[in-house]
């Protein structure tokens, strides 16, 4: 069901700061929807408006056809998993989970049955009578989820739920969260600054920046077809080019002239005409690196450069390659056994190839977004000798 949870022009200002700036979006029933963005982008404020902890200055929030904008938190069929879990330290695990049902005055038998079911869902039957201080971070996380889910909310809000956990545990909890979602089928709104989490768990993602939504789409759309330089740089890594269309071809492709770089062929899905200025994003893994000049293929770009830096990361290697005025970052996967080969290393002259279809033209470009990139991190250092 579409339009289950709808934000209509929601704004929230703190003095001069526009934390949330007329955001409109629509979330479907049963999906995992992520609000993804850097800290301070307004994603948590938007979530708190939905939970009822903040009142929007403008706009409406509609849940299942009902305007909930003015309702206090305890009258919304919405529950929250807090970033620091916010478990009640004076209560046991069991009493924490039973808090909501007790507030709703369920019968004792019903509470006992549901708490037992929740403990089973989060696999913590043996910990029911422990205190909150006696369990680990991952267990607290699970209790916080159970405490929210037992109330059978229409929407579960998760505010950076995995931020306090270490990497391995985070990955495991992500899988568990996904499993819990499959089991209960409730709509999840998931707030995170971690693109990996968002990509991994979401049906759809809203990428947020400075209180506004930059793009909404499935993870693959957000990654492969970013609309703005912010989305391209914040989600994954990329290489940016500024160019001018010089020639339009069928396909649709176009030829770009880029200052300080050889002419390239690009995918022209926007139907731009010669003379238009263009910003191009090219993901690091779209390149292929060659020692020898490869045979030319239609619609494949080929440029020559020099390797400036190499970082070997096991499953793949990161290369920084100088091509005229540009320093490109790229990843090479190692699908073959590496010890029997002679890997490309720094100082070598190499060929880079990529297909014109794999580049993406951006609608909006801001130079400051390049600061979000991780790739050119070694630019300032001299090449290691």
């Amino acid at each position: 069901m579409a339009d289950f949870l709808v934000f209509e022009g929601v704004s929230k200002h703190y003095g001069e700061i526009r934390a949330v700036d007329s955001v409109s979006l629509s979330i479907n029933k049963g999906e995992i929807f992520s609000l993804l963005g850097p800290s301070g982008c307004g994603k948590t404020t938007l979530l708190r408006c939905c939970a009822g902890f903040e009142a929007p200055d403008a706009g409406r929030i509609i849940l299942d056809g009902r305007d909930i904008t003015g309702l206090p938190p305890h009258e919304r069929k919405v529950n929250t998993v807090f970033q620091n879990y916010a478990l009640f330290p004076h209560l046991t695990i069991r009493d924490n989970i039973a808090f909501g049902p007790r507030m709703a005055r369920w019968t004792k038998g019903e509470i006992d049955k549901e708490v037992a079911r929740m403990l089973e869902l989060i696999q913590m039957e043996d910990y029911a009578d422990r205190k909150v201080t006696e369990i680990s971070g991952g267990q607290k996380q699970r209790v916080a989820i159970a405490r929210a889910l037992i109330n059978r909310p229409q929407v579960l809000l998760l505010d950076e739920p995995l931020a306090a956990l270490d990497l391995k545990l985070r990955q495991r909890m992500l899988v568990e969260l996904d499993a819990i979602h499959d089991e209960v089928g409730i709509t999840f709104v998931y707030v995170t600054h971690d693109q990996g989490e968002a990509m991994g768990i979401s049906d759809r993602i809203a990428a947020m920046n400075r209180g506004r939504i930059e793009q909404i789409g499935r993870p693959v759309e957000i990654y492969e077809a970013p609309r703005s330089s912010f989305v391209a740089a914040f989600i994954g890594d990329t290489n940016f080019f500024d160019g001018i269309v010089t020639e339009v071809m069928d396909g649709p492709y176009c030829r770009l002239r880029i200052e300080g770089f050889p002419d390239v062929l690009a995918w022209n899905d926007k139907g731009l005409l010669p003379g238009n200025a263009v910003h191009l994003s090219l993901r690091p893994e779209k390149f292929k690196i060659w020692r020898e000049l490869p045979e030319p293929l239609p619609n494949r770009n080929l440029v020559q450069g020099t390797v400036e830096d190499v970082i070997y990361l096991g499953s793949h290697t990161k290369y920084w390659v100088r091509v005229e005025d540009y320093r490109l970052g790229l990843h090479q996967q190692h699908s073959r056994y590496l010890l029997d080969t002679r890997p490309i290393t720094w100082g070598e002259k190499v060929w880079l190839s990529w297909f014109a279809d794999d580049s993406c033209m951006l609608e909006r470009y801001k130079a400051e977004d390049e600061n979000l990139l991780v790739l050119p991190d070694t630019e300032a250092e001299p090449a290691r000798a």
């Binding site: 939970a51 009822g52 902890f53 206090p72 938190p73 305890h74 919405v78 529950n79 929250t80 807090f82 620091n84 916010a86 478990l87 009640f88 330290p89 004076h90 808090f99 909501g100 507030m103 709703a104 405490r147 929210a148 109330n151």
Partner: protein, 256 residues
């Protein structure tokens, strides 16, 4: 290497300095001599005299009434003051903090004098009620400071969590916040109770006829010469304090 004996002797000296007076006092309370001094033989007559002295019991009753009253009122008012200090932001907040903090550092004698002048100016009859008011003024500050430090550690997202789970603001306060800050309020109350119980200076200024408290009565007994009875009283107070402190300890250990 030989361990230094300095810590041992320092400890010993401190213990002697602290406890020798108490031991002498306890021994003298059984000494059959009016002014202490040389041992004249064992007696319990000072204890008998103590229990027959109706003035002492009256003074004790006054003291307890004032202490309990001042404690209860300052627990409520002090907690509210701590909330106001912790939760609200205004330009007057520093002034507010200063006003609550002041009674902790203003000399008692100044407090007593100013309160006396205040009551006289308003034409309030001096007595138990004025003592009670005077005690509340300084007890509130202690309670507020203790509760405030507890509040500064309090995670207010717990309140949001409770409301998120269907509790109204008041229920969230009662079911989540109050149990968690209660130890702070209780500690503040205990502090207020002890302070009120043995306050002399402020009480001396604002007491009126017929409102003698125990510390003031003890002082006048010293002046009018019944030190042996005071010794007996002191020993009993010591014992009561000891029992109360150990009881509160045991209870706290059992609770946690």
């Amino acid at each position: 290497m030989k361990r230094s004996r300095v810590p041992f002797y320092t400890t010993l000296a401190v213990l002697v300095f602290f406890y020798l007076p108490l031991i002498i006092l306890s021994v003298n309370s059984f000494n059959d001599s009016r002014y202490g001094g040389p041992w004249n033989g064992f007696t319990v007559r000072w204890y008998v005299r103590l229990f027959q002295d109706r003035q002492i019991w009256h003074a004790l009753q006054n003291t307890l009434v004032i202490a309990v009253g001042a404690t209860v009122v300052s627990m409520v008012v002090g907690t509210m003051a701590a909330f106001a200090l912790n939760r609200y932001r205004s330009r007057l907040q520093m002034t507010h903090y200063g006003m609550i903090y002041a009674p902790l550092i203003v000399p008692d004698i100044l407090m007593g004098m100013s309160l006396l002048l205040f009551f006289v100016a308003l034409n309030v009859k001096l007595g138990l009620f004025t003592i009670f008011l005077a005690h509340v003024t300084f007890c509130v500050s202690y309670v507020a400071m203790v509760v405030l430090s507890r509040l500064q550690d309090f995670d207010f997202s717990l309140m949001e969590a409770a409301q998120d789970l269907g509790a109204s603001h008041w229920t969230a306060f009662r079911r989540v916040m109050l149990p968690l800050i209660m130890p702070g309020i209780a500690a503040g109350g205990l502090l207020a109770f002890t302070l009120s119980l043995d306050d002399f200076v402020v009480t001396f200024f604002v007491a009126g006829p017929g409102s003698t408290t125990l510390p003031i009565h003890i002082y006048s007994m010293m002046k009018h010469g019944a030190p042996a009875v005071i010794n007996a009283l002191s020993v009993i107070l010591l014992l009561v304090t000891f029992v109360l402190v150990s009881a509160s300890r045991t209870i706290r250990e059992k609770l946690s």
